[in-house]
Amino acid sequence: MIALLKRDLALALRAGGGFGLGLAFFLIVVVLVPFGVGPEADILSRIAPGILWVGALLAALLSLDRIFALDFEDGSLALLATSPLPLEAAGMVKAAAHWITTGLPLTLAAPLFGFLLHMQSTAYPYLLISLLIGTPALSMIGTFGAALTVGLRRGGLLLSLLVLPLYVPTLLFGAEAVRRGAAGLDATSALVLQAGITAGCFAILPFATAAVLRINLR
């Protein structure tokens, strides 16, 4: 498992833009929003939690189709399926690698971007925590979506159509937690529910991912 994780991380890094691309996309989203809604600080600080969460979600979406596509083409996915490592575990490792290359950098960079959007200072801890517990769910759901569309030649657009509705609960609780934090309210319940969603995703989706991969490899 660790060897697979290392391999995936190395591949993501050496292919170029593993860390950078998602972050750059996130930054562009954050920069474009003030052009769209106007530069007034009070409007921006009101919508900052939502923008940051939607931006993180879209940035995570960007690199999903690469999770399995290359491995499927060069046959290493078939090799993985026949290896002693269960395919369920391989799916989880893939999700973990995706999280380390996109979710983690996004989480760490988000406070900086929150600063650009004049976010309320009370919201920062909630932003960090909610992204930290929410982005693994985004990676796991995305891995399932990527496994669904791996056999398709032009699966990219379909992948977003399939995955985005599944992102609704995570986004909702995450943005709600940050919004409550910004308003100075207690956001524990939102964070706990979000953690529940993430835990549920990791409990169910590795099996669904493995089942779907087996069908696609048939």
């Binding site: 399932f144 509705p165 609960p169 909702l172 709600e176 669904a208």
Partner: protein, 230 residues
């Protein structure tokens, strides 16, 4: 195929009879609501279509489970056949809701939990249909969409409760529940029940017809493949 041939015309005829009876009864022979006026009558389209939008998804879920467990081909085709009908029901519910909402709430659309859940349901339907269309091999498509339907159901339920957390709504509580003493006043309730029966029958008829079409398409494909090999 054999038992559906005689059933199909009857289910269409019955659906038509129930719908005409229910709608005519509802539109012309029930009093106006004392607060909502005649706008209340859109309930005869809104409630049954919303009900069928959800039930179509449940039927797809059951059919998908049957396909995964028993690998009965007709169940996969029935799930595929039900999806577009479900989409149309969802759209009817959303549009009639908007038309009803404008005079009552002063807005066609609000980010109310129920309305939002329906919009999300619509997106789930779109993804499901798109996946069916995208995959060429029919067995693979059936398998993948079945898994998507099962996982999607879990997330659809999660989203439904999540949006309640996010926003309190304008929409009233359930109009129909089994454990309430009286759901809607009787004058409105009976024609509503007739309309619901009509929508259910219409759904059955449409799904039967579409499934028959799918089976025929599958047979033609098999015959063509055999012709090429011969």
């Amino acid at each position: 195929m054999s038992w559906t041939r005689p059933v199909l015309p009857w289910s269409f005829a019955l659906a038509g009879a129930f719908l005409v009876t229910g709608l005519v009864w509802g539109f012309f022979f029930t009093p106006d609501d004392f607060r909502q006026g005649s706008t209340v009558k859109i309930i005869y389209l809104h409630v049954p279509s919303a009900l069928m939008a959800i039930n179509a998804w449940i039927m797809m879920l059951v059919a998908s489970l049957v396909w995964v467990v028993r690998r009965h081909h007709v169940s996969a085709l029935a799930a595929r056949a039900a999806a577009p009908v479900g989409v149309v029901m969802t759209l009817i519910a959303l549009f009639t809701g908007g038309i009803w909402g404008q005079p009552m709430w002063g807005t066609y659309w609000a980010w109310d939990p129920r309305l939002t859940s329906f919009l999300i349901l619509f997106l789930f339907y779109l993804g499901y249909i798109a996946l069916w269309e995208a995959i060429e091999d029919s067995d693979t498509a059936a398998d993948l969409t079945a898994v998507l339907c099962i996982v999607g159901s879990i997330f659809a339920i999660l989203s439904r409760y999540a949006v309640h957390f996010w926003n309190q709504g304008l929409h009233q509580g359930s109009s129909l529940s089994l454990d309430a003493e009286q759901n809607v006043a009787d004058v409105f309730y009976y024609p509503l029940l007739v309309c619901i029966a009509g929508f259910i029958l219409l759904f059955i008829a449409l799904v039967l017809m579409r499934t028959r079409t799918e089976i025929r398409a599958r047979r033609i494909k098999a015959l063509q493949a055999r012709g090429r090999h011969a």
